[in-house]
């Protein structure tokens, strides 16, 4: 019988577990708050897949579910920034995979514009991201969220709500 000494291992496991935790408890000043708007069929389901797979993520994201990215009005993002969001993440189905066949194409055009608009309003582009995550891409969702949150954290909380 092999004697097992795995305190370090389990220690490491729990430690590496929740980057969100460290961020929330650790940071002295306000932790960043990020609004996510996702489509019901791909990215929301992708976030579900990530959850089912226990893919740990930072806890700074709050999701709003819409049927399709095509339903998303860029003004939603502006509203979020106006209300003081530190970042806005938008995600839908990969091009070609839209549950409504072409909603995400219309969305893409809008977001490309929105990206510039937001930049012109003096908000660094690192605070706004739109991407595609499919229902089966739990790991990708984890990466998208983690990377984006890390990026926004680097910039820190936005000072003042006004645009």
């Amino acid at each position: 019988m092999a004697e097992v000494n795995n305190n370090q291992a389990s220690g490491a496991a729990t430690q590496g577990a929740a980057p969100g935790a460290g961020a929330a408890t650790g940071a002295p000043d306000r932790d960043v708050k990020i609004v996510g708007i996702v489509c019901n069929w791909c990215s929301y389901a992708g976030a579900d897949t990530a959850g089912v797979g226990r893919f740990k993520q930072p806890a700074n994201l709050r999701l709003i579910r819409l049927p399709c990215t095509g339903r998303i009005d860029p003004l939603f993002a502006l509203k979020a920034f106006e209300k003081g969001a530190d970042g806005v993440l938008i995600s839908g189905c990969h091009p070609g995979d839209c549950h409504y066949s072409e909603g995400n194409y219309y969305a893409r055009r809008k977001f490309e514009l929105a990206e510039r608009m937001i930049h012109h309003l003096g908000i660094p582009k690192e605070r706004f991201k739109w991407t595609w995550v499919s229902a089966s891409e739990g790991a990708r969702w984890q990466k998208v969220v983690t990377d984006f949150v890390e990026g926004v954290k680097k910039l820190g909380p936005r000072e003042g709500k006004a645009l």
């Binding site: 097992v4 000494n5 795995n6 305190n7």
Partner: protein, 230 residues
């Protein structure tokens, strides 16, 4: 009976993740690395067994093995690993660790490397004959030398070898590079081993101190549990 040491396993794993960007936990023991390895027939430990030892923390055994010294860095194992583990990278890193820790490694690999680098450090470029000479002196093994002495004839007649090596410009800088980076390496290893020692001491103390309680496997409690099973 072997003793699994998750502590040193975790330590080495993290280090390999940093230095080679590869995780030994990915290995599922298919043995492709061992099958691919052209030098394995001279190894004391098969590459796939090395991966296993790293997984369970038998790090000293690995660092003292002939295998890491006899690896010829042909990268076949890395190229064919179905789990995309950089096996050769791990071997390379372990070899540098062993070197940095000044371990007394088996085979003549160390002698060869040092003969080589000293020659380069001195002349800037590799003076082959000189290096071979130093190497065979280092091995204190005249038989080996004789084995290759035969080569000297064709090499000289074919003008493949200079008897008297010349120092090239930039040799001084090479010398400095060699000196500086080896010092850094030695320092790094020292720091690493000391940190490891501290960690283990701390863990040991914790194991004694804490009572066997707490669900989420806080280090101490599990350590206690294992003592019960042991």
């Amino acid at each position: 009976m072997i003793r699994y040491d998750a502590q040193s396993a975790a330590r080495t794993r993290d280090r390999l993740l940093k230095e080679v960007e590869t995780d030994v936990r990915d290995c599922y023991q298919c043995g492709n690395c061992s099958a691919s390895c052209p030098a394995a027939f001279t190894f004391d430990i098969m590459p796939n067994q090395m991966m296993r030892m790293l997984q369970v923390g038998m790090v000293d055994k690995v660092l003292d093995s002939k295998s890491i010294q006899l690896c010829i860095q042909c990268l076949t194992c890395t190229g064919r690993c179905p789990r995309n583990i950089d096996v050769a990278g791990i071997f390379e890193d372990l070899k540098t660790i062993a070197a940095g820790q000044g371990r007394d490694v088996p085979e003549h690999a160390k002698t060869f490397n040092e003969a080589f680098m000293n020659a380069v450090a001195r002349f800037g470029r590799l003076p082959e004959l000189y290096m071979m000479g130093m190497f065979y002196l280092g091995t204190m093994n005249p038989k080996m030398a004789m084995g290759d002495a035969g080569l000297a004839v064709p090499m000289l007649t074919k003008g493949k070898m200079a008897i008297v090596p010349r120092r090239s410009k930039g040799a001084d800088e090479v010398g400095r590079i060699y000196k500086k980076s080896i010092e850094k390496a030695k320092a790094r290893e020292k720091a690493f081993t000391e940190a490891a020692a501290r960690e283990e001491a701390a863990a040991a103390r914790a194991a004694k101190a804490a009572p066997a309680a707490g669900a989420h496997g806080a280090g101490a409690s599990t350590a206690d549990e294992t003592e019960v099973t042991a």
